[in-house]
Symmetry: C2
Subunit: 324 residues, 2 copies
Amino acid sequence: MRQAGRYMSEYRELRTRHSLLDICKTPELALIVTLQPLRQLDLDAAILFSDLLLPLEPMGIPFDFVRGEGPAIETPLRSEADIDRLRCFDPRAELGYVLEAIRLIRAELDGKLPLIGFAGAPFTLASYAIEGGHSNTFALTKSLMYSNPRAWHRLCDLFASIVAEYLKAQIDAGVQAVQVFDSWAGALNANDYREFVMPHTRKIFDALRGLGVPTIHFGTGTAGILREMREAGGDVIGADWRVPLDEAWQRIGYDRAIQGNLDPTVLLAPLDRMLSAADDVLKRAGGRPGHIFNLGHGILPSTPVEHVQTLAQHVHRHRLGAHA
Amino acid sequence: MRQAGRYMSEYRELRTRHSLLDICKTPELALIVTLQPLRQLDLDAAILFSDLLLPLEPMGIPFDFVRGEGPAIETPLRSEADIDRLRCFDPRAELGYVLEAIRLIRAELDGKLPLIGFAGAPFTLASYAIEGGHSNTFALTKSLMYSNPRAWHRLCDLFASIVAEYLKAQIDAGVQAVQVFDSWAGALNANDYREFVMPHTRKIFDALRGLGVPTIHFGTGTAGILREMREAGGDVIGADWRVPLDEAWQRIGYDRAIQGNLDPTVLLAPLDRMLSAADDVLKRAGGRPGHIFNLGHGILPSTPVEHVQTLAQHVHRHRLGAHA
């Protein structure tokens, strides 16, 4: 999950002059925004400030962000012909600005904190490219997937190839862990996930094996597909708050680490409620090594910064207590 | 789930002259639309054509439907004062048009098919009233719930009282089963569901006990709260496609019936894929009595009518085969 964002006044201030895409595409701005949360919050890692959709443009799927409405794809993919027209590209050449941002951030962090990179998974990228933006039903995405599996698999295979190369390039540039976001894969049942998604996501994790960099595999609403996500890959599986962390970990298996799973809306609650919800997550993790405390999805723009500060301190105190 | 809707040309034709609210508020139009699917589809029950939000207006929360965007509440509830201003009302008086539609439909069905009535559950109604429409995060809803539990519980208790009376009135008017829609309760984890939702939904099911009418309790994304939904009440628990039907039933318990759980998007697929997905649901139900075959959520506007026809026939043939 992004650490920086509209909940921080410094970020909002910068956004009055620069668009989200400007920040992503200008290494010096991406550096500034990546570091913003680290000055205010007691965090264990820095997360590259970037966007899942950046690979779409060089593939031939231009998009922009519409204020308050999220991404808007100019010409959504609707047919096999649309998919045929897409191009494979070399992320080292055409997403070089992300790699340059990584080098700047690593230099600035100077070994004090590790840096996490990320990319979108094929299903989630395909859903944006096909729906044209966010969707509640994924009707167009699933319709193409069911009706033309050949075109679907070609599209997702292309995404997988590009994302694998992109993440390898991020690792070469210096990120010390990578997260693969399949944010919307929970819209599928386990059968469909296995048939239409798993081969492609697995291709990404297979490509990253042996590079010495931990991999995180994240989705939301995934209570029904946690075992399948594990099978697709990831040293760490991310889970959202809709499934209790202990149940989720049991389904994933204790030989994998788990990341999660506080409901981000609880950061809008009074502090005592927020902290007791955090304690519930920590209790369910049972002090086992291999739990990465995190929110179950992105931080909300209306979140008070001091709540995030208090939460980070609280989790660290708990960890110290557990190890004392 | 609604049986009639934009996937049917007769419905679309009627909608060129009448708004959704007009249809709900005019018993003769509600009758016509309720009967539309029955002429084309081989169904086991009729479902009253109505809308979850109708009780909001007489409570003092006016709303309308914005074309293509769903409901829009004129002045969403944002404070305790907003909740204090709401009024309790008698559904027999102020939602009389729904009860009249029920009487007309029962007369027209003439005992050939049972009629199912429905209403929204407190959490789902509260989420519309607070967010002002559909939400992806339910940030405002949960924020009010966490920050002012007293106001939240007063709001949900008011919803529960009204909905209980409304469903009793529907039963008196002639519906032979009722469904309580907590469509968005899956946004909560089990702890929050238990604290903020269960007492209110239970109040509704408690009020309906002993009336001799089966009750259905429906939600989506509920893999993590099926046991809690069972505890809140309902002779039948509805589940969506994100959890396999056999796993869902096991969690709910075999002493309750289950409704579900075909992904509505699979009706957009080629017929062979749609039918094999339906077969998977039927296989997981294992021929047990107490499985009501249904979609896991509402039918999509782009669904071909002939796919719905084929699906209904297929399920009936399967049932006959199973009992032969």
